[in-house]
Each structure stands twice: as C-alpha cells, then as structure tokens.
Symmetry: C2
Subunit: 197 residues, 2 copies
C-alpha cells in the first residue's frame, strides 16, 4: 500500500487543496505540502494535455526549490462540459451560470497528475463522468450560499453539500475530488520498480 | 438542500456506522443516532429486497421506541459478488478469502434505505458497480493488518486504505460508503411534498 511504498521518502504534495491533503491523510502517507503558485491559464489545447502540463509545471516548480531528494506529487483538475472548460467561478453569478449548465447533464472531470523524483518523472491523467440531477433555481441559490462552489473547478464539490446533486459517477470517484488514487498507486509502484524514485 | 428540508424535524439515524454519521455531518443535517440492534440474517431472497427489509426493520424498531414525532432514517448495505453475498468478515482468514474473491473483478454494492415518519414510510434501494484492481497476497495481508476490513461488508472500505484498490465505480459512490445520498434526497423531498413527515 502507498504508506508502506513511500515510507522513507520525503514526499511533497505540491498543492494547496484541502481535498488532496484529506486524501493523503486518509492514505496514511507522511508528506509535506508546498504550494506552487503557478498560474494555470486555460487554452484551446486538449483538456487532458492541459491538466497534465499544469500538474507537471507545478511539480517542476516545487522540485526546483526542493533538496532534490524529494518526491514531488502534483495534480490539476479540469471540469469539462460539452467541450467547454469550467474553471473556478470568479463570482456568485458565474457559479450560478456553471451550475445551471451542469444541471441534468453528464460532464467529464479530468485530473492530470505528475510524480517527480530525483531520477525522473511520470505524468498521467484520469477521467471520470459525473451526472447531475436537474437543479432548481432555489437549489442553486441555496448551494451558492454555502460558499462551497467558490473555490472549486466547475463550481461544485462532490464531497460536501454538492453530493446531494450527483446521481451517478462512472470512473474513479477520487479523481473528481481532485486526486486519482489508484492511478497514483500504479505510477508510484512503477517508478519504484524502475528505481526512479 | 437536505439540511434546510429537514430543519425542524427530529431526525434519528438508526445506525451505528461511523461512515453514515460522517455523511450526515457532511450534509449539515441535525440528527441523533440510535442503534437498532436488529440481527440481519442473510437469506436466499433477492439481495435488494433483503437490504430494504433490513433497513425497514431497523427503522421500525427505532420508531417503536421513539416519541412518534421523529423521522427515522436507516440503511443496510450488502456486497454481492457473482450472486453471492459477502457479509462482514468474522475472521482475518475470511477477510482474506473475500478480498481474494474481489480481486480483479467487478461486484455490486446494494444499499437499502428506509425513511419512517409519523404518517408513513418509504423504502428504496440503490446499486453501484465497483471494480477492484488485481490484488497480490502481500497487498491483501497489508490491508488486513490495517484492521479496516474487519467491520465492513465485503471486507473493504472504499473510503480509507481500500480506496487504493478501486479502479472504477459506476453509480452512486456514497451508496458504497453505506448511504445513497441522492436517493435519500429524493425520498425526503417526496415525503415532504405529500405531507408524510
């Protein structure tokens, strides 16, 4: 398991996300966090490639400042609806418009992750389909009042009040929370096997 | 949302499960818990019907002891692999045999829920497909040593160390944790609309 696999390594989670920290805590991994402060401009490029590049940039930025014996883990989550990327809402109005768009539809959540060790790195991504129930204007207003939508890509949190609106998930659930646990497990296992950490 | 919908009602969660309490806390619902101590013998009957009947028995048992103005919420979770029900393991050996059986396969998790108010009740169930990665004997041993499998149907917890073994979920994730949030939302909404709470 991951806590045993990574035991003895200095793991740095290059993320300020409380959800990712919660996942690392749940897995019993010993780690530090270091936020990367990398801007993540969204472009017209393939969303999976963008998510992986953002993750890689975060990992490289933290790795450059680390003691080179660290293992940096980073992730970047993108919410995609009908080909359009929904970022973190900049206002309550934008959150409302995102939630109206997500209502009664299935969207895709893509998380790119990057693991950077002294001898190499590996990037990958995972994608999950998430279906929303039809939302009323009142439900959207009540949800916005909880403030939960404001710091999250796509204006919702699957682990929180937002859970009430989700009818179905297809794929990795933790990917929607912002960190694809099983994918990370496989990458860590592979890097260790090849002596790259 | 549920916290607003159920505001003013005396909600009793008829369950001793920490996972269900965690979900109610996450949803901001004000509630008490009361464990029902109902035995749940597994029979050859349809698993979904069994899960609903167990949930209903738990709710009735707590309702009978309550002040009749309460709203009782109960749930019962069953893990089903190739038509066989995997209960809570009674020993480390049984946990090992369950985990070996789940390895590299997709199984079904069914949670029956029951909501019992003064003027009526509603039972329903939700089912979710869960896919396991191939597990090695070492992984299974390490996992059993965490003790996590011992108090859980099917010998794993999706929210915990067990998350590392799950490659895919199809359906309601919270159903696998033991409580189908969206289904409960719809039942509560319907019972309120019909004046049954």
């Amino acid at each position: 398991m991951l806590d045993k696999m990574l035991n003895g390594y200095k793991i740095i989670l290059a993320s300020a996300s409380p959800r990712r920290r919660e996942i690392f805590d749940m897995l019993g991994i010993c780690y530090e966090t270091q936020s990367s402060d990398i801007a993540e401009p969204l472009t017209g490029e393939d969303p999976a490639l963008q998510a992986m590049r953002h993750a890689q940039n975060k990992a490289e930025s933290v790795f450059a400042k680390s003691d080179q014996h660290s293992v940096i883990v980073s992730a970047d989550t993108i919410v995609l609806l009908d080909g359009r990327i929904l970022g973190k809402p900049e206002s309550a109005e934008q959150a409302q418009s995102y939630l109206m768009a997500l209502s009664a539809k299935t969207h895709t959540v893509i998380t790119g992750i990057c693991v950077r060790g002294a001898k190499g790195q590996r990037c990958a991504y995972e994608q999950t389909q998430v279906s929303f129930a039809p939302l009323t204007a009142d439900e959207i207003q009540d949800y916005i009042q909880t403030k939960e939508p404001m710091d999250k890509a796509g204006a919702y949190g699957i682990q929180g009040f937002g859970s009430q609106f989700i009818t179905r998930v297809e794929g990795c659930y933790f990917n929607v929370m912002g960190f694809p646990i099983r994918r990370f497990y496989e990458i860590a296992q592979d890097l260790l096997k090849k002596g790259m950490l």
